[in-house]
């Protein structure tokens, strides 16, 4: 188990360096520099521009900048935001809980609907339910997030007036963040109506963000289940006189979960990409929105740091998925 972990970590380190390089170079490929953007519409004099460029170290060759960035990184320093002058790490971890809360709810919706839907579709292959689920999944998968988000806002917020349009909680409530998760904080604050306000703010973005993972999980579960249901050991389970709950929910599902877990792990990456759009549409103060803002302001340290931290989170999740495999499938555990 330990060698297994070490080997996985060994792969992560070069990947990590790859990410630093890509993030560093791509943001510098964008036209415009942070100093010019800071000046705004009025612009600034040539001398002032040169002086500021020198101050931030942007006048040095790119490789030199990269090396000093890596040097800082090795000491755990991701730099300071050019705009807010706050450490990138601090900014990131202030906003991160909002994104986690949103992504977690999205993936919970996706798993708790997608998994049963895929299972039932597989066991009733060719039925109306099966066709409906598969058509729904295809639609969900093909729908652009921003358009789907706007549709939901128009319908539920605009026409029905059921949910708020943006933000994390109504302005009526204020309390100091404890966990950073609005649902938990609002419950702990003890203020009446705070929790339901937080929930009503969360529900639409979570549905929007969860739609694509939901579709993917439903389809993957269905196909994995169909394959497993034809296996000899499922016949053995039936031959034991076990009920459909045990045959499908235990014997078949345990095996079908192996490819499904992979897909769920991969969806975490998709979630972060989706969070950028979803957070922008719903003005959700998470890292997705923060990244978009940082890119448009050419806030180099924030973009580099943010990308790196997001990549780290995605890699960690994939590592956990790899470990989960072993728990579900003993064959993998023993050959490692």
């Amino acid at each position: 188990m330990i060698t297994f972990l070490l080997r996985k970590l060994g792969v992560l380190i070069p990947t990590f360096f790859g990410v630093t390089l890509v993030a560093f170079i791509f943001i510098r490929l964008l036209p415009g520099d942070p100093v010019l953007l800071m000046a705004g519409e009025r612009g600034m004099s040539e001398e002032r521009h040169t002086a500021l460029m020198k101050e931030y170290g942007f006048d040095r060759p790119v490789w030199e900048q990269y090396l000093s960035y890596i040097g800082d990184l090795a000491q755990g320093d991701l730099g300071k935001s050019i705009i807010t002058k706050k450490p990138v790490t601090k900014e990131f971890f202030t906003l991160f809980p909002a994104t986690i809360e949103l992504s977690l709810c999205a993936i919970i919706i996706a798993v708790f609907i997608g998994l049963p839907a895929g299972m039932i579709a597989a066991t009733r292959r060719g039925s109306v339910f099966d066709h409906t689920v598969m058509a729904g999944a295809l639609t969900g998968y093909s729908m652009p997030i921003f358009w789907w988000g706007l549709l939901l806002i128009i319908f539920f917020s605009g026409i029905l007036g059921w949910t708020p349009v943006s933000g994390r909680i109504s302005l009526l409530y204020y309390f100091e963040p404890v966990t950073g998760f609005m649902l938990i904080d609002s419950l702990m604050s003890g203020q009446e109506g705070a929790f339901s306000s937080a929930l009503s703010h969360l529900i639409l973005p979570a549905i929007v963000l969860g739609t694509i993972p939901l579709a993917v999980i439903a389809r993957q579960t269905r196909s994995a289940m169909l394959e497993v249901l034809g296996e000899d050991y499922v016949r053995t389970a039936k031959a034991k006189g076990l009920g459909p709950g045990r045959v499908i929910g235990l014997h078949a599902l345990r095996n079908a979960m192996i490819p499904v877990i992979t897909v769920i792990g991969l969806q975490v990456g998709v979630l972060f990409a989706g969070a950028i759009l979803t957070e922008t549409i719903f003005s959700w103060p998470g890292i997705g929105k923060w990244m978009v803002d940082s890119i448009s302001r050419r806030d180099y340290p924030s973009v580099q740091g943010g990308l790196l931290l997001i990549a780290a989170v995605v890699m960690m999740v994939n590592l956990v998925v790899d470990l989960l495999y072993g728990l579900i499938n003993p064959q993998i555990r023993h050959t490692e």
Binding site: R235, T236, K240, L242, G243, P330
Partner: protein, 333 residues
């Protein structure tokens, strides 16, 4: 009262090309303590008939029968729940591929005790004790260690022993073994067969052995049913079947045994079992039968008398000669 009573069992599958009859009018009685063997080539519907009895066929299958009774209980009309209380406890089955028949995600112990939990409501301690006893019974060394092993850590022979242990865990009255030794190597085959016979005697259960191996039949069975293209073509005591087969197909099967062959080249039956699209009109064996006449090719035969092994043939064999066959009559005259 027979333990198992099957009359005119038919199974057809819904395929892209229409309905395909895989089992056609199978009739079988099994008394308590009987060992019955069902023999036939691949595609003769041996397994399908037994899977139908167990209720293990996919939804594309339609099962019909005049009588389908186990221990006096009508399996045709009983609800699924009652059927499940019999299947896996009183009537169990083991399969051809032991390596894929065990679930790779669960330990041997878990799979072995599952039936006990479900059917007998045994607690964990009792289950564990019974599991050890069962593993010892089927001859698995170090049973305590094996309980926590996963199927991929077992060999084919070991897996089949575990399957057998699972099948006999609730003291069944009928064990159906569907080609239990086909996927195993020869030395293991004999061990598994011996084990099945030993258990059959000790547990006093009936055994239905599905096989395509006449050698296995000769060693194990008391009664034999020969099946061809979904139909039963002959039923006999094992001794009679080997000394005096009544159906030309049985005779041809026996002639193709290497032990019985005197020629340099192994004799074989030309052609293959008819499939969905090349089913002959009359006798299904007529295209491959050396005695076939115009009558055979046009009219389906009737079942012969008990003395003639209930052979499904126009000219059943007696001591190797077709009775009532036109050429034979000429020869006799």
């Amino acid at each position: 009262m027979p333990l198992l009573e099957i009359q005119n069992l038919s199974v057809s599958f819904l395929t892209a090309g229409g309905q395909f009859k895989a089992v056609d009018g199978v009739t079988l009685n099994v008394e308590p303590g009987d060992i019955v063997s069902i023999v036939g080539e691949s595609g003769s519907g041996k397994s399908v008939a037994m899977l139908a009895l167990m209720g293990l066929l996919p939804w594309t299958a339609t099962v019909t029968a005049d009588v389908l009774r186990f221990d006096g209980k009508d399996m045709l009309t009983m609800d699924k729940k009652t059927r499940r209380s019999i299947v896996g406890s009183e009537m169990t089955m083991i399969f051809q591929e032991p390596m894929t028949s065990l679930n790779p995600c669960f330990t041997v112990g878990f799979q072995l005790t599952e039936s006990l939990k479900v059917h007998k409501n045994m607690d964990r301690r009792a289950c564990n004790a019974r599991a050890l006893e069962l593993l010892e019974l089927v001859g698995i060394p170090e049973p305590q260690k094996r309980l926590s092993a996963f199927p991929h850590q077992l060999s084919g022979g070991m897996s089949q022993r575990v399957m057998i242990a699972m099948a006999i865990s609730c003291n069944p009255r009928l064990l159906i073994a569907d080609e239990p030794t086909t996927a195993l190597d020869v030395t293991i085959q004999a061990q598994i067969l011996d084990l099945l016979l030993k258990l059959q005697k000790e547990q006093d259960m009936s055994l239905i052995l599905i096989t395509h191996d006449m050698g296995v039949v000769a060693e194990t069975a008391e009664r034999v049913v020969v099946q061809y293209a979904g139909q039963q073509v002959e039923k006999q005591e094992v001794r009679g079947l080997f000394s005096n087969p009544h159906h030309p197909y049985t005779s041809a099967l026996l002639a193709s045994l290497p032990e019985r062959s005197q020629a340099r080249k192994l004799p074989s039956i030309p052609g293959v079992v008819p499939g969905q699209f090349d089913r002959p009109e009359g006798c299904l064996f007529s295209p491959r039968c050396s005695f076939a006449t115009e009558l055979c090719r046009t009219t389906p035969p009737k079942v012969a008398s008990h003395e003639m092994g209930r052979a499904l043939c126009h000219y059943p064999l007696a001591e190797g000669l077709p009775v009532g066959h036109p050429e034979n009559r000429e020869a006799a005259a």
